[in-house]
């Protein structure tokens, strides 16, 4: 029986940012499966990711078949998102991956992996590396995919999402109890520390006989308590010596499916939301699906801004990113007149803009950390204080609400990224 823990009253603080119409995106009743004609995979890292190709343009590949592997660690591969013909491969001269484009070939089938019988931690990690599922784990500090021979200090399973317009992940895996159980079992072997599952308060998780090493965290339905950051900060602070991973509940079910069948599930659930949609909806799509094709005929007339992620933390996207479960369509603002020269000069010289404390800001990290001292330390580039206040446990999306509330320029989230990069160099782990 899994243990349960409700988070304390101080950590129940949060906000409900303006939603962008997710009402219909909660249930699974209207989820249709859509495989787009084109799909693209991109480098999972911001920086250097050198690869060796296992296929060439024009090759036909099965869904789940490895198409490239990391030069640094050959066990780590990236797989084809659908049965497809390899259309193009974009790499620079240093063999750094930029993108790979696929055309759908329905007859190319699915790749089946050999799943070993004995499943201890290293064996499971090697299996996940070989099948490309290593990218499902996001490591803190740094927000990069877990890579190499690492054992995390803790793993957080996110069965909750409170971003505006996000769907309800638990509804998406309602019928996958056996796979979740197998996935959770595998997770417990990847770490000697706790496996924490964050779920909406009062929700039931079908984890059947999942082990006693899984601790359930009930989180209220206020942002940012549906993000991993506040829970990592509260329950398992991350550091360079003790990295912490987080993973989406649907990816846990995918790991379970791999262990049970040897195949990688072909689709994942994505919520299509935002004021630019005629109706918010859920779709099951392949990783790297073509967003334009997904939205064809589903948006209201006008110019749109299409984001991968939510309205507050998303970035313009052409393809559904690996690990992303939301696409937000905003109405593009009309082109702005260039500001008066004096105003433009003032806005440039006054950076970073001052941040004024408000009651909303106090709750912008769920009440688990003093927000203003943390923002001041990040803005000042004070790595030592920011680290002491838990900055290494956070990633950019955790501070998106702070940026939304304050209109900070440059964004605090970007300043956090720069600070963590600097801390990594200082610690010699960059």
């Amino acid at each position: 029986m899994a243990s349960e823990e409700a988070i304390g009253p101080r950590a129940q603080e949060g906000l409900r940012p303006m939603g962008t119409g997710p009402a219909g995106a909660g249930g699974s009743a209207h989820t249709e499966t859509r495989i787009t004609a084109e799909a693209s995979i991109r480098s999972p890292f911001r920086g250097d990711f050198r690869v060796e190709l296992l296929v060439a343009p024009g090759d036909v590949v099965a869904q789940g078949q490895p198409v490239l592997r990391a030069t640094k660690a050959h066990a780590f591969t990236i797989t084809a998102p659908m049965p497809a013909k390899v259309a193009s491969i974009d790499m620079d001269r240093g063999q750094r991956l930029k993108s790979m484009l696929f055309y759908h070939e329905p007859g190319a089938g699915r790749h089946v992996f050999d799943v070993p019988d004995a499943m201890d931690g290293p064996v499971i990690w090697r299996l996940l590396a070989n099948t490309g599922l290593w990218r499902a784990f996001r490591q803190r500090p740094g927000a990069s995919p877990a890579f190499g021979d690492i054992r995390p200090a803790a793993i957080l399973v996110m069965a909750h999402d409170t971003r505006p317009g996000a769907g309800r992940p638990l509804d998406w895996v309602r019928s996958r109890g056996a796979e979740i159980e197998a996935g959770l079992e595998a997770l417990t072997r990847l770490t000697d520390g706790p496996v924490l599952m964050v779920r909406p308060r009062g929700a039931e998780v079908d984890q059947r006989h999942a082990t006693g090493r899984v601790t359930l965290i009930d989180a209220p339905d206020v942002h940012p308590l549906g993000l991993a950051g506040p829970h990592v900060l509260r329950h398992a602070p991350a550091s360079f010596d003790r990295p912490v991973w987080d993973i989406h509940i649907e990816a846990v079910a995918d790991i379970g499916a791999l262990i049970r069948t040897g195949m990688i599930p072909a689709t994942k659930t994505v919520a299509l939301t935002g004021p630019g949609m005629r109706t918010p909806l859920l779709q099951r799509v392949q990783a790297g699906a073509d967003v334009r094709e997904l939205l064809l005929g589903k948006v209201v007339p006008g110019n749109h801004l299409v984001l991968g992620g939510s309205a507050i933390d998303g970035a313009p996207a052409r393809w559904v990113r690996w690990g992303s479960h939301q696409v937000t369509v905003l109405m593009a603002p009309p082109p702005e007149k260039p500001p008066h020269w004096l105003r433009a000069a003032l806005s440039r010289t006054a950076r970073p803009l001052p941040v004024i404390p408000t009651a909303g800001l106090d709750r912008a990290l769920g009440g688990v950390v003093p927000v203003m001292p943390l923002i001041r330390a990040i803005s000042a580039g004070d790595t030592e204080t920011a680290t002491a206040l838990g900055a290494l446990s956070l990633v950019e999306e955790d501070l998106a609400l702070v940026d939304y509330l304050t209109g900070a320029e440059p964004r605090i989230a970007r300043q956090l990224r720069a600070l963590i990069d600097r801390a990594a160099v200082e610690e010699g782990v960059a």
């Binding site: 602070p237 905003l330 010289t349």
Partner: protein, 260 residues
């Protein structure tokens, strides 16, 4: 991608609007004299903001209106125009503009200006605030609290300390003392930029303000009520970073006990 409303100038605008009850009650009591002081203070504040705009490309802020109101209401009376302009200038430049403008300052510029004038011209009498100013200050506190600009903990801490002071027989509810305590609180002590920014620090600052008011009321019998409250406000303002640091030390030690 989308951004919320609470930029620096939105906060400043709401703060100015929250000051309306206090400004209105004070102006009704002071009439022409008050208006003249307010306009003079506004001229000084925005004169310096214009200079810093031209020299250092530092954007002006609506919060200057709050600074001007505080200086006009709380500065000693009977000063000549030179002393008034000198004091207000010292507060605005040294207390705020040299740090980069509102939002980056450590002390409230009006606190600096009033302290400068109080120490520099000790013979100048302190103004008497009429009882409607107490109601105006309460209105300001409620509006700013409702918009999330002022901290409930800070106000709560001060209220607790002042309640104990009243129970101890100190004249905090006296019609001449109450407005002198509440007006600096609404104008200076609760300022979101310069007050404590941690939850425990805010409790501490509120308790400190109320406690110092009680102490000075009991022990500093020669001072006027406003002088007592302004001294307490200055010391509570100066103590805010220390209180924050203590709160962070306590937070870190709790975390160390929990997580090693």
């Amino acid at each position: 991608m989308i951004r919320g409303l609470w930029s620096r100038e939105t906060v400043a605008l709401v703060l100015v609007l929250a000051m309306a009850p206090l400004a209105a009650t004070w102006l009704m009591a002071m009439r022409g004299d008050g208006l003249l002081r307010l306009l003079s203070a506004l001229a000084v504040v925005y004169g310096w903001q214009l200079i810093f705009l031209m020299i250092r490309a530092q954007p002006p802020s609506l919060a200057g209106i709050v600074t001007a109101l505080a200086i006009a209401m709380l500065a000693p009376t009977g000063l000549g125009p030179v002393a008034f302009v000198l004091g207000a200038s010292f507060g605005v430049v040294i207390g705020e503009l040299v740090f980069g403008g509102w939002g980056r300052n450590i002390l409230h510029p009006a606190t600096v200006a009033v302290a400068f004038l109080g120490f520099g011209y000790p013979a100048a009498p302190w103004p008497d605030l009429a009882i409607p100013a107490a109601w105006g200050a309460l209105g300001t506190l409620v509006v700013a609290l409702a918009f999330g600009l002022y901290s409930m903990r800070l106000i709560g801490g001060a209220a607790i300390a002042l309640t104990f002071a009243a129970l101890a027989g100190l004249p905090v509810l006296d019609p001449f003392v109450a407005p002198a305590i509440l007006a600096p609180m609404a104008l200076l002590v609760c300022d979101p930029v310069t007050s404590a920014s941690t939850q425990s620090g805010r409790w501490g600052q509120g308790l400190l303000y109320g406690g110092l008011v009680a102490l000075f009321l009991g022990a500093w019998t020669s001072a006027s009520a406003l002088q007592v409250a302004l001294s307490a406000a200055l010391l509570a303002n100066l103590a805010a970073p220390l209180l924050d640091e203590l709160a962070l030390l306590a937070w870190r030690s709790r975390r160390r006990r929990h997580h090693g």
